[in-house]
């Protein structure tokens, strides 16, 4: 176990190093010029050059990368070009909002998705099953900004049940979490349905029934834990899915998280912020998968971490 964690941690570091390199290359190659963005359209070439020199953007690529990397090792994510503050501080101030949104979304997608999948599996090949699967298909195929705006229009504007946007109370959280979780709910309901149907066919379910267990005991004591096994691994991967979703959802709902920060930074070519958000997201994904792998043997005793 100990050696497994150590090995995985080393692997994770290598992955993060690779991601930092590729992101840096991509940002280096984009045709936009950060110095020109900072200086403004009316600035002289000389001003632009000065800014470039000041930021070290005139240095060769490898030197820029090593500067960034050496900062990174010391926990320094650099300074924002435009906001003139430490990227680390910016992200730290906005991370809690995003984490809250993600927790809300995970709860939503699991609650909705797993319930839908479970009901569909138990009512297999009935109209209930069909309508739930149509709904999940809608969830999987609808763009998040459409769902977000629809929810806003119906539940905030028309019905007035929830605030239109902003951050602070539980009520603020509901619509963004639903929007972010809806896509995942669609996936989970389909996975849960097929996983449950598969498990219900297994020999050990027949054994459980032959023992004279009650229906709910068979379902929740025997079938569900087995049906959840493939779902656990999915949750780790899910965090990556959320990362792309939060950029959209936070913009639609005016949620002050790192998604919004990233969106603004991309528009202004604020490279240190883009790098920082990318690395923090990558770290979250790597950590999520790592945790999912650590949790798996607790639920499935056949999995051994070596």
């Amino acid at each position: 176990m100990g050696s497994y964690v150590l090995r995985r941690a080393l692997q994770s570091l290598l992955i993060l190093l690779g991601i930092s390199f590729f992101t840096f290359v991509l940002l280096y190659l984009i045709p936009a010029d950060p110095a020109r963005q900072i200086a403004g359209r009316s600035a002289t070439t000389q001003t632009v050059e000065n800014i470039r020199e000041q930021l070290g953007l005139n240095l060769p690529f490898y030197e820029q990368y090593f500067r960034y990397l050496s900062g990174l090792v010391q926990g320094d994510l650099g300074r924002s070009y435009l906001q003139k503050t430490e990227v680390g501080e910016l992200i730290a101030s906005r991370l809690p909002a995003t984490l809250l949104l993600m927790v809300g979304a995970i709860v939503c997608e699991l609650l909705i998705g797993l319930t839908m999948g479970l009901v569909a599996a138990l009512r297999r090949n009935t109209p209930t099953d069909t309508s739930l699967m149509v709904l999940s298909f809608v969830g999987v195929s609808s763009p998040q900004f459409v769902i977000g705006i629809l929810l806003l229009y119906v539940f905030a504007v028309k019905l007035g049940w929830f605030p239109i946007g902003g951050y602070g109370t539980f009520m603020h959280m509901v619509l963004p979490s639903l929007t972010l979780g809806f896509l995942g709910a669609g996936w989970y309901s389909r996975m849960m349905r097929s996983s449950m149907i598969d498990v219900l066919r297994q020999d050990f379910i027949r054994t459980a029934r032959a023992k004279g267990l009650k229906r709910w005991q068979v379902l929740f004591g025997h079938a569900l834990p087995n049906a959840l096994l493939p779902i656990i691994a999915m949750i780790g991967i899910d965090i990556g899915l959320f990362m792309s979703g939060i950029v959209v959802v936070e913009s639609v709902f005016g949620w002050p998280g790192i998604g919004q920060l990233a969106w603004q930074a991309i528009q202004r070519v604020d490279i240190p912020i883009i790098m920082g958000v990318t690395l923090v997201s990558a770290f979250a994904i790597v950590l999520g998968n790592f945790l999912a792998d650590l949790v798996a043997p607790l639920i499935d005793p056949r999995i051994k971490l070596r």
Partner: protein
């Protein structure tokens, strides 16, 4: 084997039986929904089960045996299958009319069931303790602690080693035999009146089968539970039954006490079934004939010298090799033209790994020569192709070894295409010839594998192996998945092909009786090594190694007159072939006890 067993308790007349009926089945009809409409799979089944009695329900696949069991338990996969007629009476109640809630209270407490597959019949994510405890708690108002005590008691009753530790273990940490003991413990935890055992030993090794059968006998003696034992194995029937019900196409063809049924079967089908059963020792005194021996062509087609296969197990921070599975350890043998070498042993002994190594499908060490040519360990497409023309393989599961999307004609012709040996009309003609050769008709070539029965599929696999006109075929448990009558036909086909074409077979099997039937020479494997090798007569008539003797004494004898009072099988499990790195496995040395009969000495 040599001494006759003491006279066991086999009732020879109806009057000897206890008169109290526990379970009365009358006119039972079960139907399943098929795309072609409703199909009756159990048709008018009637029998009475008496206290302390064992009824064996025998028949081949599709005869409705398992459906009968599930009907009694009320576990039919509804709405696909349901009881449509007749009654099942348990102590005055008709189970077919009981609502599910009431039926639930009977399952496990009054009628319990154990299943064929111990590997999949236990929930993989729950501890053994919890699963047994649950069976008790479902029917008795006990505290958790009391239920745990009862569970432990049940595990002790089935003679499971270290029962306290097993309580906290998970199913994957137990062997198949141990899991089947757990299943029995679970079934008997509430002292049911009736135990239904559906092929309980079919998936187990023969020595483990003997242990489980003995256990069922002992427990029945202690508790008086009536047993319905469903099996396809007439040997198990002869060893266990008081009374036998023979089923075919959902109907009872014969219902009689075990002795008269075996001695003088009334129905023609029973007679056929019994005739198809291979009997251990049936060929005693008969020398195997090799039509191709002694001729100039009786060359060695396969020479294996010091074959070793080890699989690495990794671990630690750097994921280095920490231990190895010594699957095959220094095996040597030759195979001549027209000869069958039977390779027999229990699961995990390495016999299938030898087959895979010979086909270069796993990394190996040592020397393999096919028709005098060395097989190169380094795998190259051209090198593999060349020797595989001479060496082909037929696998165990005819359902899984044929690509379901291809027509069987294409499957059989594929080797010819891969080796560039035929195309166009010639290919068609050669495939048609192969179909005729294995007893199929060329007009079946356009069909897909799912349209064939198990026996027909195995014929297709044999045709595919024959396509390249190999000198030797490795048959890895090739008849194990088939019913006895079909098995006999496939074995006949293999023999015919051998006589005609001079094929050599490496016949890998766990089944001693089948090995005796087909082999010229036999090698017995244990823990990756051959412990005894010799001619069929040397091995079967004069077994020297204790393990060979143990294997033979564990085989059920399909003759109730020779029923043994106790199976003389040592308890326990085969040790693990996993060895830490740096340690080696001690190789056996052989002693020649006469005429090439080699026996391992410690």
């Amino acid at each position: 084997m040599s001494t006759l067993p003491p006279e066991p308790a086999v009732p020879s007349s109806l009057s000897e039986r206890s008169s109290r009926v526990v379970l009365g089945v009358s006119g039972l009809q079960t139907a399943v929904a098929t795309p072609q409409g409703r199909k009756i799979v159990v048709d008018g089944l009637s029998f009475d089960l008496h206290e302390g009695e064992t009824i064996c329900v025998a028949g081949e696949s599709g005869s409705g045996k398992s459906m009968t069991a599930l009907s009694i338990m009320g576990l039919l996969p509804e709405p696909m299958a349901k009881v449509v007629g007749g009654s099942i009476h348990l102590e005055g109640r008709d189970l077919t009319t009981l609502p599910e809630a009431e039926m639930r209270t009977i399952r496990g407490s009054e009628i319990a069931m154990i299943f064929q597959e111990p590997m999949t019949s236990l929930n993989p994510v729950l501890t053994i303790g919890r699963q047994v405890r649950e069976a008790v708690l479902a029917h008795e108002p006990l505290s958790r602690r009391e239920a745990d005590a009862r569970a432990l008691e049940a595990l002790k009753a089935v003679r499971l080693s270290e029962p306290e530790r097993r309580m906290t273990q998970y199913p994957h940490e137990l062997s198949g035999g141990m899991r089947q003991r757990v299943m029995i413990a679970m079934a008997l935890a509430c002292h049911p009146k009736v135990l239904i055992a559906d092929e309980p030993t079919t998936a187990l090794d023969v020595t483990i089968q003997a242990q489980i059968l003995q256990l069922m006998r002992d427990l029945q003696k202690e508790t008086g539970t009536a047993i319905i034992l469903i099996t396809h194995d007439m040997g198990v029937v002869a060893e266990m039954a008081d009374r036998v019900i023979v089923m075919q196409h959902g109907k009872i063809v014969e219902d009689n006490l075990v002795r008269p049924l075996f001695a003088a079967p009334e129905a023609a089908y029973t007679e056929e079934l019994l005739a198809a059963v291979p009997k251990l020792g049936a060929l005693a005194g008969v020398d195997p004939v090799n039509a191709h021996a002694g001729t100039a062509a009786a060359a060695k087609v396969l020479e294996v010298d010091d074959l070793t296969v080890r699989f690495d197990l990794r671990g630690g921070v750097l994921n280095r090799v920490v231990s190895r599975v010594h699957a095959v350890e220094g095996i040597s043998f030759d195979l001549h033209r027209g000869e069958t070498l039977g390779l027999v042993g229990e699961s995990g002994c390495g016999k299938s790994t030898i087959g895979k190594a010979l086909m270069n499908l796993v990394p190996w060490e040592g020397s393999i020569r096919v028709c005098g040519e060395h097989v190169l360990r380094a795998r190259t497409a051209a090198g593999d192709r060349a020797y595989r023309r001479n060496l082909q393989m037929v696998f165990q599961d005819p359902y899984a070894s044929l690509d379901p999307r291809m027509t069987v004609g294409d499957l059989v012709g594929e080797p010819l295409v891969i080796h560039g040996l035929a195309s166009g009309q010639e290919l068609q003609d050669r495939v048609a010839g192969l179909f005729r050769r294995v007893g199929l008709t060329p007009d079946q070539m356009k069909r897909h594998p799912h349209e064939f029965s198990g026996g027909q599929r195995q014929r297709i696999c044999i045709a595919r192996a024959l396509a390249l006109s190999p000198k030797a075929i490795i048959a890895d448990e090739s008849v194990s998945a088939l019913d006895v009558s079909v098995q006999a036909q496939v074995l006949d086909l293999l023999k015919e092909l051998q006589d005609e074409l001079g094929l050599a077979y490496l016949f890998i099997s766990h089944d001693m009786t089948v090995v005796e039937q087909v082999s010229h020479r036999v090698a017995v494997m244990y823990l990756g090594q051959i412990v005894e090798i010799g001619t069929r007569r040397q091995i079967f008539e004069n077994p020297q190694h204790p393990y060979t003797r143990r294997l033979m004494s564990a085989v059920p004898i399909p003759d109730p007159a020779r029923r043994r009072a106790v199976f003389d099988v040592p308890q326990g499990e085969i040790p693990s072939p996993v060895v830490p790195i740096g340690e080696s496995v001690s190789r056996v040395r052989y002693q020649d006890v006469g005429a090439g009969h080699l026996v391992a000495v410690a």
